[in-house]
Symmetry: C2
Subunit: 614 residues, 2 copies
C-alpha cells in the first residue's frame, strides 16, 4: 500500500491532509527515521521528538518562500524527508548521501549551515532584515532547543531581536535536555513554565479579582502593565527582552501547535512559542534513555543499541580524570554539555562537586576554567575540537595572557566521520599554535594520552592542550616518559624520515612496515609535543636520511608542517621535503574509510605521496 509519505513531494502538500492522515504520516515518519538511523547511525532521539512539530510548522508556513531555520540541524531528518530528500537519507552521513545537518547546498529549503548549536536566532533575524532590505516577502521561523538556549550567542540574538521588534517566529523546542540532562537557570525557568500549563486560567482569575479593586488596579499601573510577568514565569526572560511569549503547548498535538503558530505569525512582533516535546518519542528504548540514543552508530531496531566495547580515547580521558582526582583535590572537570561523548559519565558520578556541566556554552566553559585556575584550582576543560573554535578568544584572553594553569582536553581532533564540515577537528593546531604561552600535545596511542594528561595536570605550569581523535587507537607505542618539546624516534632507518603526530603516527608506522618490505628503511618520529615541537630531532634525522616526510591530519595552513619547513630553512637545512596534510577546503561528511580514501590517508595513498621524494 502506498504510504501517505509517498504523496508528499513538498511541504505545502501537507496542507491537503486531514488530522487523522497526519497522525498516520507521523507514524510513517517515525518508522523511516528509525530505519534510516539504525542503518546509518545518526541522531535519533531528537528527530523522533520533532515529528509532529515539523508537520505543524510545514503546514503553518509557506515553504520555501518563508524560511524555516533549524538550530542544530541534527533534528532536521524529518524536515529533509518532507523536502524531497528521502532518497539521500537512505545513505545519511555517507559520502553522497544526506548530510546529518542542514546544508544549503543540499536544498533550497535549508537556509544556513547548522552543525553547531545556538546560531539559528542570529541567522533568523538576519533573514528578517534581509527580506526588508531586498524587498522580498516571506516570513521567518527559527526552531531552537532549550539546550541551545544556554549558548550565549542565542541570547545575544534575542537581545537584538527584542530591540529590532520585527515579526519573527521563534519556536522553543523544549525537550528538557541538551544531549544529556539540561542544567542552568534557563532550564529551571522553563521547567517552571512547563509545570504551570494552566496559567492562562489563573491569569483570568487574578485579573478579575484585581478589577474588583479599582483603586489598586489603576493606581498601581505597573501591575496592569506587568501582570504578564507573573503569569508567564517561564517567559519572563523573553518578555523582559522584548519578545512575546506564548505557551507552553503540547509538541505532539499538531492541531494545538498549528493554532498557536498561525496566531503567532499574524502578530506584528517577535513571538516565542514554547513547545514541549518528548525526545525519543515512539521508540521505547529511546524514550527510556534518550541521551543514549542522541547520536548513535548503526544498531538493531529490535534489540537496541549495544554497549561499545572498544576502548576509546574518550574513555581513557574519563578514567585518567578519575585517577587524577583521587590524588589531586584541586582538580575540577568542566564540560559544555558533552558528559557522555567525552567519556565523563563515571567522573560526573564519582566526583559530583568537582564536575561542572555548564550547558552548551564553550566560551563560559573556558573562562569559568580561567576563574578556577586563578583561584588555585586545576581545571580540565573537556571540549570537542570544532567546538573549541567557539571559545577561541577565551583561550587567548582569559587563559593564555595570564598564563593560567588550565588543561584543554580536546576530543574529536582531526578527521571526524559522519558529521561533515561543521565537526571536523582540523583547525585546532593552527589556531592554538598561534597563541603564545599555550602548549599543545597530541598522543599517538591511548597510553600516551594517559601520560600526557598526568603531565598536563601534575607537572605543567600554564595553559596546555591535549588533542586526541574520536575512537580508539590503531597501534600502541612505548614512548617512555613524556617530556615537553621532545620528540621520540619510534623506529630507526637510514633512507627516509617520516615525522608525524597523533593519529598519523600509526599510519606512519604502517607505511614504514610496507616500505621495509620493499627494502626501504624509514625512520619514524613521533612529535608528541606539537607546541613546542622538536625541530632538532627531526633536523638531525632528516640530515641523516636526506628526505623528510611530514604528516598531519589537519589543514596545512598554520599547521606544524609549515612551521617545520620554516624552522629547517632558517637553520639552513636543505633536505627534500614532502608535506602531507589536508587541503584548504571544508571536508564533507563521509565514513572514516571514505575520508581516508578521498584524502589519500590510506597506507596506499600515503605511500604514493612518500614515493614522490624517494
Amino acid at each position: 500500500m502506498e504510504k501517505i509519505l509517498d504523496t508528499v513531494k513538498q511541504p505545502n502538500d501537507l496542507k491537503k491532509l486531514t488530522f487523522p492522515q497526519l497522525e498516520t504520516l507521523a507514524g510513517e515518519l517515525r518508522e523511516e527515521v528509525l530505519s534510516v538511523v539504525s542503518k546509518n547511525g545518526g541522531h535519533l532521539s531528537s528527530n523522533l521528538g520533532v515529528v509532529e512539530l515539523t508537520l505543524a510548522l510545514c503546514r503553518s508556513l509557506d515553504l520555501p518562500k518563508d524560511k524555516l531555520i533549524w538550530d542544530v540541524g541534527h533534528q532536521s531528518y524529518v524536515y529533509k524527508m518532507l523536502t524531497g530528500r528521502r532518497k539521500e537519507l537512505e545513505r545519511l552521513r555517507h559520502e553522497g548521501g544526506a548530510c546529518g545537518f542542514c546544508a544549503p547546498w543540499e536544498s533550497e529549503y535549508d537556509f544556513t549551515v547548522s552543525g553547531h548549536s545556538s546560531a539559528s536566532l542570529s541567522a533568523a533575524i538576519g533573514a528578517v532584515m534581509a527580506n526588508e532590505l531586498t524587498g522580498s516577502g516571506g516570513r521567518v521561523c527559527a526552531v531552537i532547543g532549550d539546550g541551545a538556549l544556554t549558548g550565549g550567542l542565542a541570547i545575544e540574538a534575542i537581545d537584538h531581536i527584542g530591540h529590532l521588534d520585527k515579526p519573527l517566529l521563534i519556536v522553543l523546542n523544549d525537550n528538557e535536555m541538551s544531549i544529556t540532562k539540561n542544567v542552568g537557570g534557563i532550564s529551571r525557568m522553563l521547567s517552571k513554565a512547563r509545570s504551570g500549563m494552566g496559567y492562562r486560567k489563573v491569569k483570568d482569575k487574578v485579573e478579575l479579582a484585581l478589577k474588583k479593586l479599582p483603586g489598586v488596579y489603576s493606581a498601581t499601573r505597573f501591575v496592569k502593565e506587568h501582570i504578564k510577568y507573573a503569569i508567564t514565569t517561564g517567559g519572563a526572560m523573553f518578555e523582559s527582552l522584548g519578545v512575546t511569549y506564548l505557551g507552553p503547548v503540547n509538541g505532539h498535538n499538531i492541531k494545538a501547535m498549528e493554532d498557536m503558530f498561525k496566531r503567532a505569525l499574524t502578530m506584528d512582533e517577535p513571538v516565542l512559542v514554547h513547545v514541549v516535546t518528548q525526545k525519543g518519542r515512539g521508540y521505547g528504548y529511546a524514550e527510556k534513555a534518550p541521551e543514549k540514543y542522541h547520536g548513535v552508530g548503526p544498531f538493531d531496531v529490535h534489540s537496541g543499541v549495544k554497549e561499545c566495547m572498544e576502548k576509546t580515547y574518550s574513555a581513557v580521558f574519563g578514567d585518567t580524570m578519575c585517577a587524577l582526582a583521587a590524588e589531586e583535590p584541586r582538580l575540577a572537570v568542566i564540560t559544555p554539555s558533552m558528559t557522555l561523548g567525552s567519556g565523563l559519565i563515571g567522573f560526573s558520578r564519582k566526583y559530583k562537586s568537582r564536575f561542572f556541566d555548564v550547558g552548551i556554552a564553550e566560551g563560559h566553559a573556558v573562562t569559568f576554567g580561567a576563574g578556577l585556575a586563578a583561584g588555585g584550582a586545576i581545571p580540565v576543560i573537556s571540549v570537542y575540537s570544532s567546538f573549541l573554535q567557539r571559545a577561541y578568544d577565551n583561550v587567548i584572553h582569559d587563559l593564555a595572557i595570564g598564563g593560567l594553569h588550565a588543561v584543554l582536553a580536546i576530543d574529536r581532533a582531526g578527521l571526524v566521520p559522519g558529521d561533515g564540515a561543521t565537526h571536523q577537528g582540523v583547525f585546532d593546531v593552527a589556531f592554538l599554535s598561534a597563541i603564545p604561552n599555550v602548549a599543545v600535545l597530541a598522543p599517538s596511542c591511548l597510553e600516551e594520552l594517559r601520560k600526557m594528561l598526568i603531565y598536563a595536570v601534575k607537572e605543567h605550569k600554564g595553559p596546555i592542550a591535549v588533542r586526541y581523535p574520536r575512537g580508539g587507537e590503531e597501534r600502541s607505542f612505548d614512548n617512555g616518559d613524556f617530556v615537553l618539546g621532545k620528540a621520540k624516534v619510534l623506529r630507526v632507518g637510514m633512507d627516509v624520515t617520516i615525522a608525524a603526530y597523533g593519529s598519523m603516527v600509526s599510519r606512519a608506522m604502517d607505511c614504514a612496515d610496507e616500505l621495509e618490505k620493499r627494502g626501504i628503511e624509514a625512520e619514524v618520529i613521533d612529535l608528541r609535543s606539537v607546541k613546542p615541537f622538536d625541530t632538532a630531532t627531526i633536523s638531525k634525522s632528516s640530515a641523516k636520511t636526506g628526505k623528510l616526510v611530514f604528516m598531519e591530519e589537519v589543514v596545512r595552513c598554520g599547521g606544524i608542517g609549515e612551521q617545520l619547513v620554516t624552522n629547517l630553512k632558517l637553520r639552513g637545512r636543505d633536505v627534500k621535503i614532502k608535506l602531507i596534510s589536508l587541503p584548504d577546503g571544508f571536508i564533507p561528511h563521509a565514513t572514516m574509510s571514505e575520508l581516508e580514501a578521498d584524502y589519500g590517508f590510506t597506507t596506499r595513498g600515503l605511500l604514493r605521496k612518500i614515493e614522490e621524494i624517494l
Copy 2:
C-alpha cells in the same frame, strides 16, 4: 596640604574614613583620574563614573582576601589608585607604566586579565568554586557594565551562577551605555527598572491589597511566589535565571551602596545589585558627551578633547561605506558597539535602516551578517581584530562553510598602541588564513582600503576580510586596480626582494630608500591580497635578487611568512630568506614608537635584520 588619597595605602584604609572625608577623597580621585588621562590618554568617562562605586566596594569587601573582578578593566583606574598603583598610573599605557586594564602580574588585587568585555562573571563563579575546592575563604564580587551584559558570555555565566546557587555579589554598573548609547532588549529592561526606583513602596501596597483578598492570594499560589517579577521588572531576567535582584541604587551615594552591598554579602545566594552611575561624572565636557571621552588621547583639561584631524583608515572605511550604500541598496553595516571607533557615526546617521549596532556581541554580529547574506543582502561586519577572536567559530561555521558573501572590515589590525596584550591585532592573519573559502586583504594605504572595500562589496563572491591598522597612512601608493591574489611590485631592484603587506609596506619602502643611499637596490613587493597570496611574483623576484626579506606585523606562527617559505621550498626555490614578524609572546602596552623600538620595527631595526642576509 596632604591629600586624603595620600593616606590610603591599601583599600582597607578606606574603612577608617568618614563619609564627608570620602566625599573629599572622591573629588581628589576625580582630579587625579583627569590628570592621568589628559596626560597619557586612556579611558575617562567610565572611570569618572565609578569613583563612589569603587570606594563603596573597597569598604564593603576585605581586599585582597576577597576578590573584586572588574569586567573590562578600563574602569579600574580608581581601583588601581587605591591599591598602590598611583605611581605607575602616572605613566598609564606607556612602557613600564600601569596597564589600562586589570593585570594580575601588576598587582595581587587584580584577579584576572580583563581587556575584553563580558568575561567577569565566568571568572567570578570560577573564583567562588575555586575557594570551595581549595578551602580558602573569601568572598567574590564582579562589577559588570550594562553594555557588557549584551555579551553572550555574561549570560552563559549568569545561567551557570543561577544553577550553582552559591554566594556571589554581582554589581551591575548601569550607565546606560556601552561605549556609545546602548541597544537591545537588556538595555530596555534596565531602563524600565531605572524609571521605577519607587517600586518597593508600590509592592507593599499591592501585597496589602492582595492580602485583603485571601481567596485569590492563597489560591493563586503563583501570585505570591512570583510577585517579585511584577515588582522588579528590570530584574525579571536575572530572577528567572536564579539570581536575586536588588536595586536600583544611586551609584554616587556611597552610603546607600555600602548598605546594599553589605546586605547582599550576607545573603547565601547569588545577588545582583543594580547600581546606576553617570559616565563622565564631575567633568563637564565628559558629562555632556561621555562617548567622546570614552577612550581619548592626551588632551588639555580646560579646553577638552580636540577633533582628530588625521585622516584615518577608520574614517576612510566609514566614507567608503556611505559611498557604496548610495549605489548598492542591499548593503548593510554591522558593528558590535564600535560605531565611533570604527568611523561609522556618519553612516549610522545617513543610513539608519541599514546600520546595525548589535551591542557588545561579536559572535552575533557575524552570524547575523550570515543571515543577512543568506537572505540576499550584502553585510559588512565592522570589528576590531582582537575582538574578532570572539567570533572565530561564527566565521568558520556561519560564513565560510556556506561560502556566504559577507565582508569583515577588520580595524585595529597589527600593533595597537596603549591598550596592551588584550588589544593587539596580531593573530587574525593566522586564524583567518587557516579557514577555507575566506579571502583576506590588507591595504598598504588609505586609497588601497577604499579600492579593496569596493572590490569586496561589489565584485567578490564569498566571505572576505579586509584588515587595516589603527590610525592613518605613513605613505601612499598608486597600486592600480585591485586583483585578488595579485601582488604589486612597487619598486624595482636587483639586490634584494622585500615583500610585505599592510602597514609593513611603507616601512619596507623606507628601508629601500635607506638601502638606496648605500647603493643597494631593493625590489619592494606589496602583497595586497594576503589570502590567496601571490607566491609567483615573489618567487620570480627573489629568483632574480637571490635574497628575500618578508615582513609582517603579526605573529610568525601561522602567518604568511611560514606559508611563503613552504610554498617556495615545495616549488624547489632555494633563496636566502629572512622573516621579520612578531615573536611568539604577548605584546604589552606601550606607545607605538616604544613598540616599534622594542620589536625592531623602526627603519633602523628593520635594516639591521635585512643586513643579515645581504
